[in-house]
């Protein structure tokens, strides 16, 4: 773990890194509420393929999103080894199914590189930057960009 407790200066970001398949991603730590193990979800009719269903989070109904499928990769086959990141974006809370949480990182803005031009729309939409740590490449994703429709539907 490369995390060290120090005061963050203006350009610093604290991020939670997680693994999906062989790729690493991260999100802003401030949007993460909690991390919990996988529990079977109740399927939702007519939902997009990446919505695995809903679970009971201490009395609240929490939709679970297969982040792998949402990012256009292979749909996950949820098992007890999977982890749910409970994250808040906009006014909603949702669970993101990922393979594992790997790290808590502090990164300064200057270390973050812009996303290279790629053909995939999806990547351009959610990726906000990439950076390297210990020879690993980590992609920073923007949660709000992942679910543009959910809020407008609920509003």
């Amino acid at each position: 773990m490369s995390y060290t407790a120090r005061n963050l200066t203006a350009g610093d970001r604290e991020l939670i890194a997680f693994r999906i398949g062989d790729q690493e991603f991260c999100v802003n730590i401030m949007s993460v509420r909690e991390i919990r193990g996988w529990t079977p979800a109740t399927a939702m009719p007519h939902s997009p393929a990446y919505v695995l269903g809903v679970i009971n989070l201490r009395g609240a109904v929490l939709p679970i999103i297969d982040l792998s499928a949402r990012l256009g990769m292979k749909p996950a086959e949820p098992s007890a080894r999977h982890v749910i990141i409970v994250a808040q974006f906009k006014n909603q809370v949702a669970g993101l199914l990922v393979d594992a949480v790997s790290d808590i990182l502090t990164v300064t803005d200057e270390n973050i590189q812009p996303v290279p031009e790629v053909s995939s729309d999806l990547e351009r939409q959610y990726a906000r930057g990439i950076f390297a740590i210990d020879k690993r490449m980590i992609c920073m994703i923007e949660l709000d960009a992942l679910f543009p429709d959910m809020e407008s539907e609920a509003a």
Binding site: P40, A41, T42, A43, M44, P45, H46, S47, P48, A49, V51, G53, V54, I55, N56, R58, G59, A60, V61, L62, P63, G72, Q92, V93, A94, D121, L122, Q125, L146, F147, P148, D149, M150, E153, A154
Partner: protein, 769 residues
């Protein structure tokens, strides 16, 4: 507390007072002549006026004042509260409510209506008071200038006067001249006899007398004749009365205005004295000693002291103390004189002190009895309800896992769990009861609607309400108002005939609308009955044919025809009126009732009227549901939608067209809908014979047989929003959490049925990107 909070409290109190006012007026309207009712009505208006004065809400004050003046005539039996008078008064109550709302939200008020009513009220106060025995000039012309504001504080020991007092210019012009009051001023003898109520309401004799002293030169005697021996003394009773001789230029009117806010709790007699009469006063005049009274005030109740401190503040400097300081020596002797009367007297006769202290205690008591309620933010209650809901689920999960691990089921853990279960259930019930409110406020609003619509249509209608105290969840109450308003409008506008027609039919020209509420088997039943013409089935039928709702040769029972009025886009009134022809019909009413998990039906007898019966759940937080399995998923179907359940036999299933199947139930064919297919849980239709059919009735009135795989049972479930964190899912009304901690979806029967008719139930979430 800042000003706005205090103001908010004032408005909340206003609402209560307005409700009180209206119910009082309605009682009077029903022939109640109890003076207490009149007093309650009067007090309500008076309190609003007082509070409004403190906040400088001039419109409200001036209207309340006129209203109050007229009510005063009723109170003093100068005006007979007959139907016509009450009609004006009820209208005035409506205007008062409007003005209050306007003051709160800045909404606009129909000024011409207000002005018109002011004139009517004034006419009543003037016209019906022929000889005005007693005090001719007082009642009709309550000094408008002196009436509002500051004294209100004394009359209203509400939170308003704690610190929310807003100084309002209020000067005694002649105050400075007091010592040298011109000899030409007339002299009055004022007998002031407080009743215990005066103290109970937080008024204080000392303050009133001090105000009186400001009018001019005054001497006052305390009459203690009524004082019983100590053992017989009731500390909450008022025993003293005072006789004051005042030399003032303000006249009787000015004197009475001092007591204006206390007048119904004391006997006031003002008598003009001749100069020589003054000398013949039987009692030795004791110089009126404000120092004593001040001291007493301080000893008694702090809050009263608070009052007069504040009052003092804006009477520009300490008003009374200065002139009195000179008489300080006299004060002592006066106190001794008073004390010397007798030992017994002394205890209580630390003058108004004891009485006032007792009164304060009594006031506290009264407050305790009357106000055993607290105002709590609804959010807090909801949070508690949520938590309790989770507790119930948690408890159920715990029980289940214990049962799984405890094979013989005899361990003490099991026993403890059972108790826990009982407790959690009790907690849940009590918490739900917090949100339960009587339907009274909604019913009261309806009486206004009836009045207004009756007025507009020139009909004479009496609204009778029953079971106003029936309690139901606040959300239900809030959502009930709109459909009920609509139905009442309909009943008055279309249901009840004009007085002429009624008379021609031999009915009482005054129509009756009866609104009642009662509990029945865990639901609340609200009935709205009118004694009007009933449903004109011929016309309804014709209209339905015109609107293509039914075919011309359709064979419908009376009941079916009656229920046509709930069909979308149906309006029978020949003329589209302002009142009910707003393009929305009974279908909207039906939908909003159904949205509440309720049902509505109508019974009508031609010539005798119609009755609408609504059955609503007591709360929106829980729902009675049937737990079913569909394609491996657990779903909950609202019990209200289910008409019956049946096990289909192969012989009763008939294929219809390419993919449709019908089931024959008692010789009628009903489309079979596979829930699993509609919700996309499975790709092909299930074999109906292996499942269970739920016969449901939907919004459109049609019946459908919903196919599910199995029924697990029936239970009450707590409704959880899906929208909070996700989005609306077509075909799903909400979610709930079952005993095993898993989420189950609650089926939206109407949407499923609509989908089976071919309307699309397509996913509303477009895949982004």
């Amino acid at each position: 507390m800042d000003m706005n909070e205090i103001k908010e409290i004032f408005f909340q109190e206003c609402e209560e007072q307005l409700a009180e006012l209206e119910s009082g007026l309605l009682k009077l309207n029903d022939g109640d002549r109890d003076p207490e009712t009149v007093n309650a009505v009067f007090r309500a208006v008076h309190s609003i006026k007082g509070g409004a004065g403190a906040f400088g809400l001039d419109d409200l004050v001036s209207f309340a004042h006129v209203f109050e003046t007229t009510l005063d005539c009723v109170r003093s039996n100068k005006l007979e509260p007959n139907q016509d008078v009450l009609k004006v008064m009820l209208k005035s109550a409506d205007v008062l409510a409007d003005l209050t709302n306007a003051a709160r939200d800045g909404a606009s008020v129909d000024e011409s209506r207000t002005r018109g009513l002011v004139k009517e009220l004034e006419a009543l106060a003037r016209g019906e008071m022929p000889s005005a025995s007693g005090a001719p000039e007082v009642a009709p012309a309550k000094p408008a200038a002196a009436a509002p504001a500051p004294v209100a504080v004394a009359a209203k020991p509400a939170p308003t006067d704690e610190s929310g007092f807003q100084p309002i210019p209020f000067t005694f012009d002649d105050f400075g001249d007091e010592p040298a009051a011109p000899a030409a001023d007339p002299v009055f003898e004022v007998t002031f006899k407080p009743r215990s109520d005066l103290y109970a309401k937080g008024n204080e004799a000392a303050l009133l007398l001090r105000d009186l002293a400001r009018l001019g030169e005054m001497t006052v005697n305390c009459n203690m004749d009524a004082l019983p021996p100590l053992e017989a003394l009731n500390p909450e009773e008022a025993y003293f009365h005072w006789v004051a001789t005042v030399r003032t230029s303000k006249g009787e009117e000015g004197i009475r205005s001092v007591f204006e806010f206390a007048e119904w709790d004391c006997d006031i007699d003002v008598r003009g004295l001749e100069e020589n009469e003054e000398a013949e006063l039987p009692m030795i005049p004791v110089p009126f000693d404000l120092a004593i009274l001040d001291g007493d005030g301080a000893m008694t109740a702090e809050e009263h002291d608070h009052d007069h401190d504040q009052m003092g503040d804006h009477h520009e400097a300490a008003p009374a103390d200065a002139p009195v300081a000179a008489a300080a020596a006299e004060a002592v002797s006066a106190a001794q004189t008073a004390a010397a009367v007798s030992q017994t007297a002394r205890a209580a006769a630390a003058a108004p002190a004891a009485a006032a202290a007792a009164a304060a205690a009594q006031a506290n008591n009264a407050a305790n009895q009357a106000g055993q309620t607290i105002r709590v933010d609804l959010d807090r209650v909801d949070r508690l309800i949520n938590l309790v809901g989770e507790l119930v689920i948690n408890q159920a999960m715990l029980s289940q896992s214990v049962v799984e691990n405890d094979s013989n089921g005899t361990s003490s853990i099991n026993m403890g769990l059972e108790e826990l279960q009982q407790l959690t259930r009790e907690i849940q019930d009590s918490v739900m009861a917090i949100r339960a409110q009587p339907v009274k406020p909604v019913f009261q609003r309806m009486s206004r609607i009836v009045r207004e619509v009756a007025d507009m249509t020139g009909k004479s209608i009496r609204l009778i309400t029953e079971g106003e105290n029936t309690e139901v969840d606040k959300t239900v109450i809030d959502k009930l108002a709109e459909p009920l308003t609509h139905m009442i409008r309909n009943a008055v506008d279309h249901g009840i005939e004009t007085p002429e027609k009624r008379e021609a039919k031999g009915k009482n020209p005054e129509g009756t609308v009866r609104l009642s509420a009662k509990h029945r088997s865990g639901r609340i039943i609200i009935e709205l009955a009118d004694d009007g013409a009933g449903i004109n089935r011929e016309r309804v039928r014709q209209k339905a044919i015109d609107n293509d709702l039914i075919t011309a040769d359709a064979n419908l029972s009376d009941e079916e025809i009656d229920n046509l009025i709930f069909a979308p886009g149906f309006s029978t009134a020949d003329k589209i009126s302002d009142i009910s022809g707003r393009g929305v019909g009974m279908d909207v009413v039906k939908r909003s009732i159904q949205a509440l998990g309720g049902r509505i039906s109508i019974q009508s007898r031609p010539g005798q009227g119609s009755t609408f019966v609504m059955s609503l759940p007591l709360t929106l937080a829980v729902l009675d549901g049937m737990v079913v399995t569909v394609a491996g998923q657990t779903l909950v179907v609202p019990l209200t939608a289910i008409v019956e359940t049946l096990q289909p036999e192969a012989s009763s299933i008939h294929s219809f067209g390419a993919s449709q199947r019908l089931i024959s139930i008692r010789n009628s064919f009903c489309p079979l809908v596979d829930v699993g297919r509609i919700l996309d849980f499975r790709a092909t239709q299930a074999n109906p014979v292996e499942g269970v059919a739920l016969l449901v009735e939907s919004e459109g009135g049609g019946q459908r047989a919903l196919m599910v795989d199995a029924i697990q049972g029936q239970r009450q479930v707590v409704i959880k929003s899906l929208e909070a964190n996700y989005t609306h899912v077509p075909g799903i009304a909400a979610a709930t959490i079952l005993g095993d901690g898993r989420v189950a979806l609650i089926l939206d029967v109407d949407a499923v049925v609509a989908a089976s008719r071919g309307q699309s139930l397509k996913p509303e979430i477009a895949l982004a990107g």
